[in-house]
Amino acid sequence: MSGKTLSNQLKGGLDAPICLTWEITYACNLQCVHCLSSSGTRDPRELSTDQAKSVLDELRDLQVFYINIGGGEPMIRKDFFEILEHAETNNIGVKFSTNGTYITAENARRLAAMNYLDIQISLDGVDAITNDAVRGKGSYATAIAAMNHLRDANFGQFKISVVVTRHNVDQLDAFKALADSYGAQLRITRLRPSGRGADTWDELHPTQQQQRQIYDWLMKHGENVLTGDSFFHLNAFGESLPGLNLCGAGRVVCLIDPIGDVYACPFVIHDQFKAGSLLSDGGFTKVWKESDLFLSLREPESEGACSACGSYDACQGGCMAAKFFTGIPLDGPDPECVTGHGEELVKSATVSLIPKPSMDHSRSVKINTPRLASSKEAVQRMERV
């Protein structure tokens, strides 16, 4: 066997990503408070159908076996099925994430007839109150309706994808039971302070005590639950969770955004982590293989402040995006570091220096006129104007 461990091989980068996320639109009918990409409205520069197909052709040539399609709400694109079919024709497996709004009975049957397709329905609570507080009014009922349609169309095993927050962490068993009742697979992932998640992080991210709760739950159920390897920062608690246990950004993972910009991972839509553009920098292959950013991410990383702690091999210093958007240096501890080192740093971070996402496609907030009008004082004020 070769001298380098698999982990080191992967850190040095692969010839093509093994986990590529492609967000095909910033448009979304929902406005989830933790949206990683601050989605809401379509960007006029989004890739055309032909450009999207060219991206798939290039990924086929690189032998990218499967891709994760997301958004925004990907099914909002009128050419959504055309893109799926082009991927299928080219032997690229697709897993797409959706809020379920467009999984009608008819669309569920159409999806069930396709090969190489996985569907992830996003759900952040096992009841409407918990879910809708994060994902918006009516979004729980919408997701359940979509799941019913997929079941009725005999789609097979779809996935229920949960972002673990302070408010739903006690529902992990119930999520598992819900998934089991549909013959579905549960996927739980880590909340990130990215996109609109930066604004809600303090209120939503699990407490130190809950970090332990997630770890213990995954140790018990991890073999049957998908995590996207997103909880490796918890490995400092003890035995490692299943998975690759490393930050794959720019090494085995990357993100293509709706306008064709390539970022190191789906959680860092920020200029500092933009490797280049599909359209202006010679195509995806060139960006993946030659961009300065990706080449630097494949260099051995510095343990920095974490070198003094005995757990670095286990937790790898945690998530680059979580550190970046909470104002912690990239060679510092994760904000959710289980030893508490990160928490102290977050408290001391200067708010004005915390990076903001480079793009925001959130819809502008509507002024709630009925409430204003209901207040006598407000009416009098309006009359004076």
Partner: protein
């Protein structure tokens, strides 16, 4: 253990191999399993094992020393457990 030196094997037709510096990635389109083949010799054997009457013939054809055969049987057996390799 289901695979022995006498087994006639083949790469599952639903599996694609992608060469990498350490060996190859194998992806199974049916069960969505992604497996790392961590040695070029394993990749070579897996690629054309279907062309030989037995696993042993394939190992011989690729000049794999008999002292390494047990580890290859083990590797192929674990690939069979993921349905990457199957008995034909």
């Amino acid at each position: 253990m289901s695979i022995t030196l006498e087994t006639a094997c083949e790469l599952n037709p639903q599996v694609a191999l992608r060469p990498e510096s350490f060996g190859a990635l194998a992806y199974h389109y049916g069960n969505r399993k992604l497996v790392f083949l961590k040695h070029p010799d394993v990749v070579a054997v897996v690629s054309d094992v279907a062309d030989y009457a037995t696993l042993q013939d394939a190992l011989g054809a690729h000049n794999i020393q008999p002292s390494r055969w047990p580890s290859f049987v083990e590797a192929i057996d674990s690939l069979a457990a993921s349905d990457i390799i199957r008995v034909r």
